[in-house]
């Protein structure tokens, strides 16, 4: 049973595709790394999956999941760190699915929030305003919120950027824990070593799929070279995509 199904998906901005003609499936419970150079469309693809970006063409099926069954950790969250909110309250927003507009935060929920904060190693930070945290601590807070969201599909966009080794190891352990709990995890990553050692499945992206499959088969020098050669620039005078015509005629 697939958690995610891509049907000839093209995602982009202003009609310019950033991810071209992607088809395939992510099995339920899979642990998938999405790799590729900057500008390859990794973030774009993840935004498409969580529904922030509508596909220009094709479709993404969530296998019966509601948008609220997805937890999304964006690359550079547009978080207003100067807003006066405590770590406890901020992490608590992860309970939105259960509490929504008016649901109370009872004793059980408070316990859950405290446990989530503890499991990212931030005991004692509950009452600190989020503005006083370091970058690594903030990333831990965001992981704690994902933890609380209790989502069956977890989408992480470069979650270990600018994070030190200790924090990375702690957070990676959480990712593996999610995998062991049977959740589907997709992560955009740059660290090939990490992908090789910890992620069973890999999608190499370069404005379109280069290769997709078991990490050992996909993560080859040839594939990475193809991805590196990708052309980043938009062509302002690009014609409408011909591949679309072909596929629609075939249909």
């Amino acid at each position: 049973m697939a958690a995610l199904h891509f049907h000839n998906v093209t995602l982009g901005y202003d009609r310019h595709p950033a991810v071209h003609h992607l088809s395939g499936e992510v099995a339920r419970g899979a642990l998938v790394a999405v790799i590729g150079p900057n500008g390859a469309g990794k973030s774009t693809l993840l935004r498409g999956i969580v529904g922030i970006l509508k596909p220009l063409d094709g479709s993404i099926h969530l296998g019966g999941l509601d948008a609220r069954d997805i937890a999304y950790l964006p690359q550079s969250a547009e978080i207003d760190r100067s807003f006066p909110i405590s770590v406890f309250d901020f992490v608590g927003t992860g309970l939105w699915r259960a509490t929504s507009l008016f649901g109370g935060i009872g004793k059980a929920a408070r316990g859950k929030i405290l446990r989530a904060i503890a499991s990212v190693g931030l005991n004692g930070f509950e009452n600190r305003p989020i503005g006083t945290l370091s970058g690594g601590q903030m990333q831990r807070v965001l992981f704690a919120r994902v933890l609380l969201q209790d989502a069956s599909l977890i989408v992480l966009d470069e979650p270990f950027n600018a994070i030190d080794a200790k924090t990375t190891a702690d957070l990676l352990a959480l990712v593996k824990q999610w995998h062991n709990e049977g959740r589907t995890v997709l992560a955009a990553l740059h660290d090939m070593e990490m992908v090789r050692n910890h992620f069973s499945e890999t999608l190499v992206l370069a404005r379109g799929p280069v290769a997709w499959g078991p990490t050992a088969d996909v993560l080859t020098p040839e594939n990475l070279l193809v991805a590196m050669r990708m052309c980043e620039a938009f062509d302002d005078s690009a014609a409408a995509c011909a591949a679309d015509d072909i596929s629609s005629r075939a249909a």
Partner: protein, 289 residues
């Protein structure tokens, strides 16, 4: 003696009691809105919106003279129209909300002043621009209290999405569709409270009783709930002290209220516990951990 100065005016004159009730209602509803305006970096949006109300109020004035009911209705319609138009333009195009608002409010202000001066005198214009809280009748007072009540109820409903949208809008978008409606409801509350303040302080100063207390609160707390409480208290004190000042010195009431708030603001900037200037200059020895 002190009694005569501070309490006497209110026991003696009914218009002072009405004015006091009005400023307290304005403080209760307007200050929390002001705190959110400030935290969402929309302080100037509030100001712009205040001007946008003018043409509506002016049309009301044109149709039925200095009738506060007609002017309020007109102000509400104009304010909502501009708020929603600016919000829609900002959300459906790449234009930032402040830029689209600036366009709308400049047009509104020009239109409003034109309409008032077609029919009214300079005194009417002054009244519209600066309000007159000492001329509140029962009906107006009830309208002000009603608007304040509605504001607090709606704010309670949209509080959670509003807070989350302020901190992490992208997160709210991924878990809920409440962000857009909450934002529009918030803009509506801004308009309602501006129209409310408009009765007392006029278009140009209405936003003062919302923004100044919020600015004051920021210097005394890092906690949202505490900030809202401090802002309400600061607004109520400014209102009361402004009325006394106005009664004793014949300074017009609206400017007197805003001037008192300004004095509190300056004191807060200097001596505030959170980021006050004096506190920054003499922070004390650094802590151990």
């Amino acid at each position: 003696m002190l009694y005569d100065a501070l309490i006497g005016p209110f026991t003696e004159f009914e218009f002072m009691r009405r004015a006091l009730a009005a400023v307290i209602a304005l403080a209760l509803a307007g200050a929390p809105i002001g705190v959110f305006l400030m935290l969402r970096r929309m302080s100037l949006v509030g100001d712009a919106m205040a001007h946008a109300i003018l043409p509506g109020a002016a049309v009301g004035f044109l149709l039925s003279g200095l009738n506060l009911f007609a002017m309020t209705a007109g102000g509400l319609i104009a304010g909502f129209a501009v708020a929603i138009l600016a919000g829609v333009v900002a959300r459906s195009t790449g234009l930032k909300e402040d830029a689209s608002l600036a366009t709308f409010y400049l047009a509104s202000l020009a239109l409003g002043v034109t309409i008032v001066s077609i029919k009214g005198t300079n005194i009417d214009l002054l009244h519209v621009l600066f309000g007159n809280i000492l001329a509140m009748d029962d009906q107006t007072l009830l309208v002000v209290a009603f608007n304040a009540t509605v504001t607090l109820l709606v704010l309670a409903v949209i509080y959670r999405p509003l807070v989350i949208e302020s901190v992490d809008p992208l997160f709210l978008r991924t878990v809920s569709r409440a962000g857009g409606p909450a934002h529009l409801a918030f803009l509506a509350l801004v308009v309602i409270n501006l129209v409310n303040g408009f009765q007392a302080l006029g278009t140009l100063l209405a936003v003062g009783l919302m923004i100044l207390p919020a600015g004051i609160a920021r210097f005394w707390s890092r906690d949202l709930t505490a900030m809202i409480c401090i802002a309400v208290v600061a607004a109520a004190i400014s209102g009361y002290a402004g009325l006394v000042l106005s009664f004793q010195t014949r300074v017009p009431s609206g400017p007197a209220i805003i001037l008192v708030a300004t004095v509190i603001y300056v004191v807060s900037v200097l001596f505030g516990r959170v980021g006050g200037i004096v506190r920054q200059m003499f922070p004390g020895r650094h802590l151990e951990a």
